[in-house]
Amino acid sequence: MKPFEKILLTLICLPSIYSSIMAFKALKAPDLFLFMGFVGLVLMVLSKYIVDVIVAMLYVPAIASFTLFLLNNPQPIIGLAAGYIIASTLILPIIAFNQDSPHTYLAIYLISIFLDMNLLAASKPPITSTLLLRNLFYGLRGFHGVMDPIFSIMIAPSVAALLYHIFRLIRPSTSTMISSHRSLIVLLLSALPILGLTILSRYSPGYAWISSIILGLILTISLVLHLNLG
């Protein structure tokens, strides 16, 4: 992977990195197995599935925790599972980065954002790995997103990097979002209604919600009409 792509990937993963840090910060006490689960999965992906890494970081903790589980100590295996879940939000965009289809990557990214939000909602300190898992699964039923301002800020550069990446995958093309003046201008213009919606959601979430529907409808209808009648 080229250095530029590494930067791009880091930017895309910013919300996931933030939510993972927040999940670790919310832990009441350090959990070795949770940490091993997280690091094991991340290293497995970053090392491009080197067998030694997989054995050392994945199989050994898994066998150890399972043995302890059989010896009537379920805590390590729960910790390991929680570690895997935290890592999954981060590794999803990493694994799919070399995907050739932009829409698949976009879907994976949005799923990852959804998991990040769920993770942030479940990480209300002080928690343990058991509590984190329970919050994650029970929280899904009554889940209505999260309003973490830092998380929202993290999303901005992440979406910019995501757009650059997915529109780079559209072929054939002779320029990227940065090299094309038109796309840069449109990118800035597109941010205006979104900025308006974000501000509106601060004061009146109900109106922001209705405005989102109206904007979505206007955009889709305009696009269809322009392509068919234009």
């Binding site: 949005l110 999303i155 002779t174 919600w209």
Partner: protein, 407 residues
């Protein structure tokens, strides 16, 4: 103008997640997806103007096929060249539609950046298993905006017919050198040069054929001392269109596709009954009132199929059909009326083929039923017609072409 397939998928994924996140009230995902949707819509509105300026006329293109007519299961070389008169710097995808042919070597697609004056070459080899009129093309150019989100598709060259035959050698071809500058199929005007097919008809003495049309070298006498003479077939001068109607795209277990047999026989007879300079159009009915046409030409390498968008008016027409398509009768009537064509309608009864597979009695019943159906339909056209089977087609055609005698 439309969206690139990948951009459509991006928009679809965004819209789907937007709806889900609206239901779940997930603000960050609503914002993200809405941003992508806004970007695509605004970009399309801003970027479409430039692409709209590109017209079909801005392209210079050629599409050549060699050999044509071709032999089935043998490679046909297809070469397309495209260049842009003006504009440039657009990413583009140029494709020659393979139709029912399959690719053997090379690629029928080119992707890259188009610029004015640069010639793009697409060369490949393809072949077909099926005999009959096949088509290659159209040659399409998809021009994209620099980011690749928008695409404008242009059909810059129409599809071109390729005639696939079981063997091109089966078709008789002129054996004399043509004096014409633009030679076309047909026999030489020289009365002393002819082909075997010209001497086949036998007439009893009582018919008193014109002396000048008798081939005196082939006068025969039967055991009953009855004198037979062999007469030259009349060669046609008029231009001709051969229409292949509906119902021939079926395969017989031993004889292959019916259309192949029909075409082979029609060309065999027609080419040996026309005079040099006569033009032949091959036209196929596609259903739904649509026809495709190609002009049969003649080059120094033999027969050649050329592009023809339409057939001229006042032509002599041989229309072969089985009346399978419901709307075909109306289409025939409309065609004859609108073009003032002089038609010879030949309905083919394939019932005879069934004798090989069923009992004679059963097959005869089917032949009779099919004959009734064909007569009924042919009567509805209001045209003069002949009904024949595959075996009798050559003779029917020969008599119709030479003497306008219906069988």
């Amino acid at each position: 103008m439309m969206l690139n397939k990948r951009a459509v998928y991006i928009y679809q994924v965004s819209a789907t997640f937007f709806l889900i996140s609206l239901i779940l009230n997930l603000q960050p995902i609503i914002i993200t997806t809405l941003y992508i949707m806004t970007f695509i819509t605004l970009y399309v509105i801003a970027g479409s103007r430039e692409l709209k300026k590109i017209l079909k006329e801005d392209f210079i293109q050629t599409l050549s096929i060699s050999p044509n007519p071709a032999t089935i299961n043998h490679e046909v070389r297809i070469r397309g060249s495209v260049s842009l008169k003006k504009w440039g710097g657009f990413p583009a995808k140029i494709e020659i539609d393979l139709g029912d042919l399959y690719l053997v070597r090379g690629s029928n697609v080119w992707t890259g950046a188009l610029s004015a004056g640069r010639e793009i070459l697409i060369e490949f080899e393809a072949k077909s298993d099926d005999v009959g009129i096949q088509f290659i093309g159209p040659l399409r150019a998809a021009v994209f905006d620099p980011l690749g989100i928008l695409v404008r598709e242009l059909e810059i060259h129409p599809r071109t017919a390729i005639l696939f035959l079981r063997s091109t050698k089966l078709i008789s071809q002129p054996i004399t050198h043509s004096r014409s500058r633009y030679p076309s199929p047909g026999l030489s005007k020289n009365p002393f040069v002819g082909l075997e097919h010209e001497y086949r008809i036998s007439l009893p003495e009582i018919h008193e054929p014109q002396a000048r049309r008798i081939d005196w070298r082939r006068v025969a006498r039967s055991a009953g001392e009855e004198v037979y003479v062999k007469q030259f077939d009349k060669l046609k001068r008029a231009d001709l269109a051969i229409f292949i109607g509906s119902g021939f795209d079926i395969e017989l277990p031993d004889d292959g596709i019916v259309e192949a047999e029909i075409l082979q026989q029609v060309l065999l007879v027609t080419l040996s009954h026309i005079r040099e300079g006569t033009r032949i159009w091959l036209t196929k009915y596609l259903g739904g009132g649509e026809f495709v046409t190609a002009l049969l030409g003649y080059s120094s390498f033999g027969l050649k199929l050329m592009e023809a968008e339409d057939i001229p008016r006042n032509l002599r027409v041989i229309y072969l059909t089985r009346f399978i398509e419901d709307d075909e009768i109306d289409v025939i009537k409309q065609l004859m009326r609108s073009r003032s064509l002089d038609p010879i309608l030949i309905a083919i009864n394939l019932g005879g083929e069934l004798i090989k597979y069923y009992g004679r009695e059963r097959a005869l019943k089917i032949i009779e039923a099919e004959d009734r159906r064909l007569r009924l339909n042919a009567d509805r056209t209001g045209l003069q017609y002949s009904i024949t089977d595959i075996e009798g087609l050559q003779e029917t055609l020969r008599r119709l072409l030479s003497f306008r005698r219906r069988v």
